[in-house]
Amino acid sequence: MVTLQINGQSQTIDATPDTPLLWALRDFLGLTGTKFGCGIAQCGACTVHMDGKAVRSCLLTIGSVGNRAITTIEAVGNTPNGAKVQKAWLDIEVVQCGYCQSGQIMSATALLNKTPHPQDADIDAAMAGNLCRCGTYTRIRQAIKNAAKA
């Protein structure tokens, strides 16, 4: 049994400490907005926030989270930057197939948390680990800039 702070609520999960957070979110709590992509922290689809910073939940074990606050795509819209990012995403219709986009939004929000007015190089450095096979990168870049101005 491991207790986690997820989207502002305390959740107890009946799983061993070496269970990946992604499994706990999707299979135990039904929070399926966070996606499984590669399973080896190379695609970014599983990105969530731990204390406001982007982490790959596929390789983060629930035993190592402790009391740190986890935020997922389901609740990131309740944060100021998360709301701005989601609106910017809808305004210019960033999404194509959408599979990677919850991860993209989590990474973009974490970027704005750290760097409120990112330049192209900041966006590259923060977003390079989030892959999009539809190639929505140019719209992602634009939406991040729009969100920063909002």
């Binding site: 790959r56 390789l59 390079a128």
Partner: protein
């Protein structure tokens, strides 16, 4: 030039050559650094061999299993994707060629199922095969020779309980003259001590147990001690570190900068017991295997004995600069020396930063902390490049520790750029690894 001058000149050359040979041949043994005289175990007050007290009541097979773990037979006697102990692991020696390890399961045809006790001891202590031919010293018989007969035979008893696997030995691919096994008879005359462990009465029982574990069983020096021109261990630079199988086996002498001098006992204990120590990084590559297959099986008392012994090895300097113990800046814009190849930074952003962070202290697991790790502080970047190529897949008490391998995804040039960037960002000086250098590292570590 007169005939007399020529003779004098030749004589001088002969003397120099002989002196150089004598210098190599008469090198000290692995435990010669320690003051005190030695006596055979039988006549000593304490016996540092065998299994720890808590296992002493067990049967010979249980004892043999513990000792086989301590001697780490598995790592070398298991090929890639092969069954345990069935051989086929490749030792790639630059200039010399490739030697494959052999099947030590009890299969009668291709393994050691027909070995008598005496034949097994001859192999372990003297490097002699059942047919009387010489083994190559890739089999560390120059270290295992210090093992007692009882311990070697306990290992044999354990091996004989394993499932017999039919796996014929792969033919070695060695260049002339190294393909002539008979030549090893001469090598053995000089470099095979053929002697059992002797107790150093001036040292503590812990020290003697640690020496037995580290030398007779663990054979640490086979990777961590540099080799001389004749490929024998050069104990004048004991534990000074060496390049083995394309990986850097680090300096584990008492040297404060390059070795273990600055490590606390707690860190060293943690590293030996778990393959990881906070602030020093984790074991990867061959040391990761030594950790998972061997050291993690040792009792706390045996780990302590190894710490006592390792601490006593005198400092041997090597050219590793000081270790950077503070994290890199949080922003990618800061920290790295200007003028560095930007492609390394781009690769790091895409593949590495999500776990390791730009600081080197990622949030995922402390196993992924780069700050303070010797790999990133080694300006040769050998182990950074190897870890990037091979990834990490370790089974620890805390669960699996995993990093993907990028060897098939990235070109040699990309791996060099990334390794150069990583050492510059997290270590005291950036590496200058080249495409060719990376290919050479690939070749040395290759299992094919």
């Amino acid at each position: 030039m007169t005939a007399r001058n020529i003779i004098v000149g030749l004589a001088c050359i002969a003397i120099i050559v002989l002196a150089a040979m004598a210098w190599i041949v008469l090198g000290p043994g692995p435990m010669a650094f320690a003051p005190g005289s030695t006596v055979a175990i039988a006549s000593a007050g304490s016996d540092p061999s065998g299994v720890p007290k808590e296992l002493a009541g067990g049967d010979v097979i249980k004892r043999g299993e513990y000792l086989a773990h301590a001697a780490d037979c598995l790592a070398c006697h298991t090929g890639k994707d092969a069954q345990a102990y069935a051989g086929g692991f490749a030792f790639n020696l630059p200039m010399i060629g490739t030697i494959y390890s052999t099947n030590i399961t009890p299969d009668k045809e291709t393994g050691i199922g027909n070995y008598t006790d005496a034949q097994f001891l001859a192999a372990v202590h003297r490097g002699k095969r059942q047919d009387g031919q010489n083994l190559y010293p890739a089999m560390p018989y120059a270290s295992y020779t210090y093992m007692t007969d009882a311990d070697a035979l306990a290992i044999k008893a354990y091996l004989f309980t394993l499932p017999a696997v039919h796996a014929p030995a792969r033919a070695n691919r060695l260049n002339f003259p190294f393909n002539q096994r008979a030549l090893l008879t001469a090598w053995n005359m000089f470099f095979s001590p053929d002697t059992r462990f002797a107790v150093n009465a001036a040292q503590s029982p812990e020290w003697n147990r640690g020496a037995y574990l580290s030398e007779a069983l663990g054979h640490c020096g086979e990777c961590h001690t540099p080799r001389n021109l004749m490929y024998a261990l050069d104990n004048r630079q004991k534990f000074a570190g060496a390049l083995t199988a394309g990986w850097r086996a680090y300096n584990i002498s008492a040297d404060a900068k390059a070795g273990l001098g600055a490590w606390s006992d707690a860190s060293l204990t943690s590293y030996l017991a778990t393959g990881h120590a906070e602030g020093h990084g984790g074991a990867a590559g061959p040391m990761g295997e030594a950790s998972d297959n061997s050291l993690t099986y040792l009792t706390a008392g045996d780990i302590h004995a190894m710490v006592v012994y390792l601490r006593s090895v005198p400092a041997a300097a090597s050219n590793l600069p000081h270790v950077i113990t503070v994290p890199a800046p949080a922003s990618f814009r800061e920290g790295v020396t200007a003028g560095l190849d930007k492609r390394g930074e781009k690769l790091f952003a895409g593949a590495c930063a999500s776990c390791h962070d730009w600081t080197g202290k990622g949030q995922l697991t402390t196993f992924a902390t780069l700050t303070g790790a010797r790999s990133v502080n080694d300006p040769s970047a050998v182990n950074v490049a190897q870890t990037v190529m091979n990834g990490i897949d370790r089974k620890t008490a805390a669960g699996n520790v995993f990093m993907p391998s990028f060897g098939n995804a990235y070109t040699n040039a990309e791996i060099a750029q990334l390794a150069n960037y990583v050492t510059a960002r997290f270590g005291p000086e950036g590496a200058h690894l080249t495409e060719k250098g990376v290919q050479s590292l690939r070749d040395q570590a290759a299992q094919r």
